[in-house]
């Protein structure tokens, strides 16, 4: 199917089914019940899952395959957002030209940055990308205010030209982004007994794009080009000795991942038509690094998992407060209840970053392959007896130095 082998086709199909059924899967608890706060099936969060999934998939093409650790990828996300919003302002509220432009602009931007940064490798490359991203942030925040809106960010206004579209909707408001009349923010609710499931146009649009991006990533991973990128990661020197120049390949990987970031930025603007400089700040770049590593760098599904995991924590775990904890542990004796709550409280709610940091460290220390490797280990633990003979020959291969 789609020129994929059986295993990849199964993976793609699984991801497709999961994303399409996400409104059901993410809303396992009835509305209004005590557990309803763990429901992640609301449009805003679901959109973020898939958009940051795209971002992380793209980052993984660079970091997971070539090993070049970019600390400035948020710059492309920001650039994508800005170009999409400008498209909304100047041309029309249709999301397609906006997203197309954001991909193109982010691509051009990453050609320039990549061309310069990729002259160095290792930590120097990280610092160079960081420097470029911080420069873009600082400029977007101050001097480029006419283009970027500066501190307030770039927003739509009623007097924007919008050549191919109306300047204001029938009610006199700013029109909302849509796809040929289908508004991105429109959603329908399906009520099944106590459960409420929300289906949002924007989510499904982003999810379809994410599936396309995921499919493309699989093809890149399995292509000779992807093989080349892995060769760069494992031994660039040897590659040079065989007479191959690694730079065009790394630049291509950099630009592709920059375009993925631009696509994510454009989608973010399409869901909510504003863009701010803080999207380019280096903490945003750090976030995508966290997502990719946490999920599993160099694996296909890892970055998507990591993105979902972090966004879930950011939006759900961070909402748990002290009184909710007291409710959960009401069955404990009083003193013990307070103690348990006091022990758990620093790690959740506003302290979720602490949990994230600890988890991230644990993953880097013990599970360099991220959550995916963790899953595989658990899977192997249960399935060992069956595949013991199968595993034996595929033990660790030692490089022939």
């Amino acid at each position: 199917m789609f020129a994929l082998d059986k295993k990849d086709a199964r993976l793609l199909l699984m991801v497709a089914v999961l994303t399409m059924l996400a409104p059901f899967i993410l809303n396992p608890f009835p509305a209004g019940s005590e557990m309803a706060q763990f429901n992640a099936g609301y449009p805003d969060l679901m959109q973020r899952f898939v958009i940051f999934g795209i971002f992380a998939i793209g980052f993984n093409i660079l970091f997971g395959l070539t090993g070049y650790l970019s600390f400035g990828h948020a710059a492309f996300l920001g650039v994508g957002s800005y170009s999409a919003v400008w498209m909304f302002k100047l041309l029309s509220m249709n999301v397609l030209p906006a997203i197309a432009l954001s991909v193109v602009v982010a691509g051009l931007f990453s050609v320039v940055i990549g061309f310069i940064s990729l002259r160095r490798s290792g930590i120097y490359f990280s610092i160079l990308t960081l420097a470029f991203a911080q420069m873009s942030f600082a400029l977007a925040y101050s001097v480029l205010t006419p283009i970027t809106g500066g501190e307030t960010g770039l927003q739509l206004a009623l007097d924007d030209p919008r050549i191919l579209d109306v300047a204001a909707s029938a009610t006199g408001n700013i029109p909302v982004p849509g796809l040929f009349g289908l508004e991105m923010r429109a959603s329908t609710n399906l009520e099944l007994g106590p459960w409420v499931f929300t289906f949002n146009v924007g989510y499904y649009f982003s999810a379809l794009i994410m599936l396309a991006a995921f499919y493309l990533a699989i093809r890149i991973f399995r292509s000779p080009f992807g093989m080349m990128l892995r060769a760069i990661k494992s031994n660039q020197q040897r590659l040079n000795y065989t007479g191959l120049n690694a730079r065009p390949y790394t630049l291509a990987a950099f630009v592709i991942s920059g375009m993925y970031a631009g696509l994510a930025g454009g989608l973010m603007a399409a869901m909510d038509p504003l863009a701010g400089a803080e999207r380019m700040f280096w903490t945003a770049s750090g976030e995508v690094v966290l997502m990719t590593i946490l999920g599993g760098a160099g694996t296909l599904i890892g970055p998507v998992l990591g993105a979902g995991f972090i966004k879930y924590m950011e939006n759900i775990i961070s909402k748990i407060n002290e009184s909710i904890l007291h409710q959960w542990f009401y069955w404990l004796p009083d003193g013990l209840e307070d103690f348990v709550v006091a022990m758990i409280y620093p790690f959740i709610g506003k302290g979720w970053h602490l949990t994230l940091g600890l988890l991230f460290m644990a993953v880097v220390i013990f599970l360099p392959g991220g959550l995916v490797e963790g899953g595989q280990r658990i899977g192997r633990m249960f399935g060992r007896k069956k595949s013991e003979e199968k595993d034996k020959p595929s033990g660790k291969t030692t490089p022939a130095e």
Binding site: G67, L69, I116, R119, R120, S121, G122, I123, Y124, S126, I127, L128, L130, A131, F132, Q134, M135, A138, L139, Y141, S142, V143, L144, Q236, W282, T283, G286, V289, I293, P346, G351, H353, L354, L356, G357, L358, F360, M361, V364, I365, P368
Partner: protein, 343 residues
């Protein structure tokens, strides 16, 4: 002319902070070969050592003061710091006033302790792993340290004033023969610069003139040979990590009166310090110091209104711009050694 002198002076204190952090980073990198992204967090921890000490010093208990009465004639309850009970009122107040400089004594053992624990507990396991892994794990550690501080001290900046004696400003203009009140410079920033120079000098002297420093330098040059000579180089490197942590911590302690410490101040400095290290040359201690002051001064020169009118926004990006140019033209940085971090 006056404006330029003023900006150079303004650059000195930021440059001092960059130089101190970059010095510590380079020490760690040069000795252990580890890229420490948690170094900014160490700077921040140092600053919070000062906050902690001034809180400890002002710990109070309530006493009923019969000499003061409220409007009904009842004796007032007043908060009296314990330190008054120990040293008497005048000395006690002086100690509280000098909390920040006193924190230096308080911070050195704590920061060395934190550094040694960090190295033995975590970093040690990452010597053999790729630099990307080291960056990632220390990045995670930085997040954790930052969140721990945020949990205990809150998210708001905590003002920590300098001693009363240093609160004024020094009129450089008058001293140098310009008009008075043109070049005025806070005393504390002078103190900071002097302190930074002292610490940097002490680190260099320690490395240059002590046997311990000699062994460490030998270890930086060729770790294996030093080990073969029967010297426990790992132990010395661990201590160097502690010293590097203390240097960052001291930079943080003394920086508190200039900028009220908050939990993410370390991260803000870290990014710039890495740029400084790279500009100075990975593994070169003098390079780190030189680049720290250079970039600090350049940054404040670029924020002069003449320059901004000429090239808008240059003050925001000058450091990064310089870093990019240097990295592309002098791949080893200003004073980088051959063979360090070249892959």
């Amino acid at each position: 002319m006056e404006a330029i002198i003023l900006q150079i002076l303004n650059g000195l204190d930021k440059g001092s902070a960059y130089a101190l952090i970059a010095l510590g980073l380079t020490l760690i990198f040069g000795t252990l070969g580890v890229v420490n992204f948690a170094h900014g967090a160490l700077f921040m921890m140092g600053a919070f050592c000062a906050v902690t000490l001034s809180r400890i010093l002002t710990l109070s208990h309530t006493v009923i003061d019969p000499t003061q009465t409220d409007f009904l004639g009842n004796p007032l309850k007043v908060q009296v710091p314990y330190i008054h009970d120990i040293f008497g009122q005048a000395t006690g107040d002086a100690i509280i006033d000098w909390a920040v400089p006193l924190s230096i004594l308080f911070a050195i053992p704590i920061m060395i302790g934190i550094g040694v624990i960090m190295e033995r507990g975590l970093i040690r396991h990452f010597y053999k792993r790729p630099h990307a892994d080291q960056i990632l794990v220390t990045f995670g550690l930085a997040i954790v340290l930052q969140e721990v501080i945020k949990y205990f001290y809150g998210a708001n900046p905590i003002p920590t004033p300098s001693p009363e004696a240093f609160r004024g400003s020094f009129d450089f203009g008058a001293a140098l023969g310009f008009d008075p009140n043109v070049i005025i410079y806070p005393y504390w920033r002078l103190v900071y610069f002097g302190f930074a120079a002292l610490v940097i000098g002490a680190v260099f002297a320690f490395l240059q003139f002590t046997t311990f420093g000699m062994v460490v330098r030998a270890g930086m040059a060729d770790r294996e040979t030093v080990g073969l000579l029967g010297i426990n180089i790992d132990k010395r490197f661990t201590i160097m990590f502690g010293i590097a942590a203390a240097v960052a911590g001291l930079a943080g302690v003394m920086y508190t009166p200039i900028n009220s410490p908050n939990y993410h101040m370390g991260m803000d400095f870290l990014v710039l310090s890495f740029v400084v290290v790279v500009v100075g040359g990975m593994g070169s201690l003098p390079g780190a110091v030189l680049a720290g002051f250079l970039l600090g001064i350049l940054e404040s020169l670029a924020s002069m209104s003449v320059v901004i009118d000429f090239i808008p926004g240059i003050n925001q990006v000058i450091i990064y711009l310089v870093a990019i140019v240097i990295l592309l033209t002098r791949p080893r940085g200003l004073m980088g050694r051959k063979g360090v971090m070249e892959d």
